[in-house]
Symmetry: C2
Subunit: 226 residues, 2 copies
């Protein structure tokens, strides 16, 4: 039996949250990845830059060995989405590992999975996470039983390597790291709230450093597809 991974997509997920761990985990032997959305079809990430496709709707995937939930600016739209939260609870009930990246942890919180648990999320969402009864911790990921929550966006790659090791052993995980040449050497050291230059996070919030809009960018046309 292949190891099954259900990867949830929703409007305005962050694409690297999903694709980073998916790249790592699909390098495990004998894995089946299923992209799931509320309804099967095209799903747009929060940068609006490229269409993704979920072949499966929620009811098509009632269980999986691994549940993987990315974050994104669209998370907030689903914190009271009973159908989606029910599905998350259902998948978690039968999963071997239940994983979130970034603000995906807020959906676990909204589903009631993190009460009294240590968890993490994007640095900007720690307060929201605690509102669900979790204790927000720093670090690249946190573990609470079968639930692993990764920090923002790129942290999903680190967590996925850890999960790969739990599933297939250290040597296989190291081979995956070598296969994706993951020897990170970012040109700056500003990847966490604690390491970024003083005041940078505040400038980001205030718009004094402007990044690309994630929500109101026009979407490219879809080609005709079979």
């Amino acid at each position: 039996m292949a190891l099954s991974i259900a990867l949830l997509l929703y409007d305005r997920f962050t694409m690297l949250d999903a694709v980073g761990p998916a790249e790592v985990l699909t390098l495990l032997p004998d894995v089946e990845l299923k992209l799931v959305a509320k309804t099967a079809g095209v799903v747009w990430p929060d940068n609006r830059a490229m269409p993704f496709v979920a072949p499966y709707g929620l009811s098509d995937v009632p269980e999986a060995d691994i549940l993987l939930v990315p974050g994104g600016t669209g998370t907030g739209d689903h914190l009271a989405d009973a159908e989606l939260l029910d599905w998350i609870r259902q998948l978690h009930a039968g999963s071997r590992y239940t994983l979130s990246v970034c603000t995906g942890a807020l959906l676990f919180g909204a589903a009631g999975l993190l009460k009294g648990a240590e968890a993490t999320t994007h640095w900007a969402a720690r307060g929201q996470l605690e509102a669900f009864g979790a204790t927000a911790v720093t670090g690249r990921w946190a573990q609470a039983g079968r639930i692993f929550t990764a920090a923002g966006v790129s942290a999903g790659i680190d967590l996925a390597l850890h999960i790969a090791a739990l599933i297939a052993g250290d040597e296989t995980a190291q081979a995956i790291q070598l296969a994706i040449e993951y020897d990170p050497q970012p040109p700056f050291d500003s990847g966490s709230l604690e390491k970024a230059p003083a005041g940078l996070a505040e400038k980001l919030f205030a718009g004094a450093v402007a990044l690309g809009s994630r929500d109101d960018r026009p979407r490219p046309p879809l080609p005709s597809m079979p």
Copy 2:
């Protein structure tokens, strides 16, 4: 005028090669990302795990400020693909930056762009790169004029942050790094040929450490799409 990025997809590209840099670069202000394939439509990455969609064909995108070419196990199918190599040469002629990730550099080599140049690629493809007249170097990326070649898969994230800094300055690039919480802390230190445990690369080549098949995995069904 928005900064235009043409991201080439082809059958059996590596999805993280494409999505890592795309995530970083679409966080720059006022960017338009165009996914391009030989023919507009669905394109499958080398892990066969999820469908991607290229809204544009080659002739739809005759120029761009940035050309971004990912690697993948499918690169080898296009090393004598005159139509594709012509397009790469054409885009490079008018680009501000011409970027490859992983074995994407082999397509630049085949297009004649790397003769006498320092370049890099996935560690396993350095010999192939040199066959095109390049000098293969180690490191996360190499620069030869307007051409920047990144090492394997995840190195595209590091290169994209460097390019973001060239385009918009260090502070904006640092803010992007903070936004994607890119403070990498992999659980192992085996991400390069030089750092991996002795013999691991040989075991990978020999199949003594088995990773997921990238080429013969069944593809999921496509949902009906508009």
